[in-house]
Point group: C2
Chain length 150, copies 2
């Protein structure tokens, strides 16, 4: 199975549905799950961004592999934003559950850009990687500004 | 790129090396990273185990997709056990850094069994999935018994 097909398959199952939230034993597990997935993603994305900007020595292999991990993990958090997971150890704003279509749109956009970054990272072309890092980072910020508490 | 090849590639880069630990800005990030990856893995493995044992209704698609996520994430924690990450918010025993070859052997064994589980999960054969869940769970327990504080 190709990676892209595999990821699409996983994404389709772990989609933003209330059914998906039933996959967690309790709301705290869902909250920890999405934070964990986002942290793994952010660490890998951050590594790519640091190398793209020259803050860390560029290593094409680490960039490609880290971007692939960020791409894969970018699909995971969304199933864990089910009903009842708005309270607890989370900075998620209540608006997420009031504006679920918009939240999903932002989440989808990020995943699209992260996948483009993974493709760019495989080519090793620094200009393409930089552009994709900026586009992806923009989608993170848009969503955080709207839906994450300070 | 095939998933298995992709995972192998990632695993080779994120291998258990001191170089890899330099990928984290600070030891606390590495600790949080490995705990996050292990939690995402455990939640997906636990879902498969629950369905395999009849504690949750069996859904072949969820089983296959969850096992694929568990397989992918099983490769990630080990780069985050670098030098200097033995102190902090962690239950990792100091023996991990004293017996690194044995710890790596346990970690490798788990990844092998988790990959077999992902293969079994794709087939949808319940007996095979059950056997693979047991084998994988055994490798988790062996490592936790030796290297995780109560």
């Amino acid at each position: 199975m190709k990676t892209s097909a595999s990821i699409a398959l996983i994404a389709s199952v772990l989609a933003f549905t209330t059914t998906a939230s039933a996959q967690f034993a309790k709301p705290d597990d869902a909250i920890r799950y999405r934070k964990s997935a986002l942290f793994v993603m952010q660490q890998n994305f951050g590594r790519v961004a640091a190398m793209a900007s020259g803050k860390a020595p560029f290593d094409a292999k680490i960039v490609a592999d880290s971007a692939a991990v960020a791409d894969f993990t970018s699909k995971l958090p969304w199933a864990a934003f089910g009903e009842g997971t708005d309270k607890g150890d989370t900075r998620a704003k209540a608006e997420i559950w009031k504006e679920s279509a918009k939240f999903k749109e932002y989440a989808d956009k990020m995943q699209v850009e992260m996948s483009k970054l993974a493709v760019a990272a495989k080519t090793g072309n620094l200009d393409n990687i930089k552009a994709a890092v900026n586009a992806t980072g923009g989608t993170c910020k848009t969503c955080h500004d709207a839906y994450r508490k300070d």
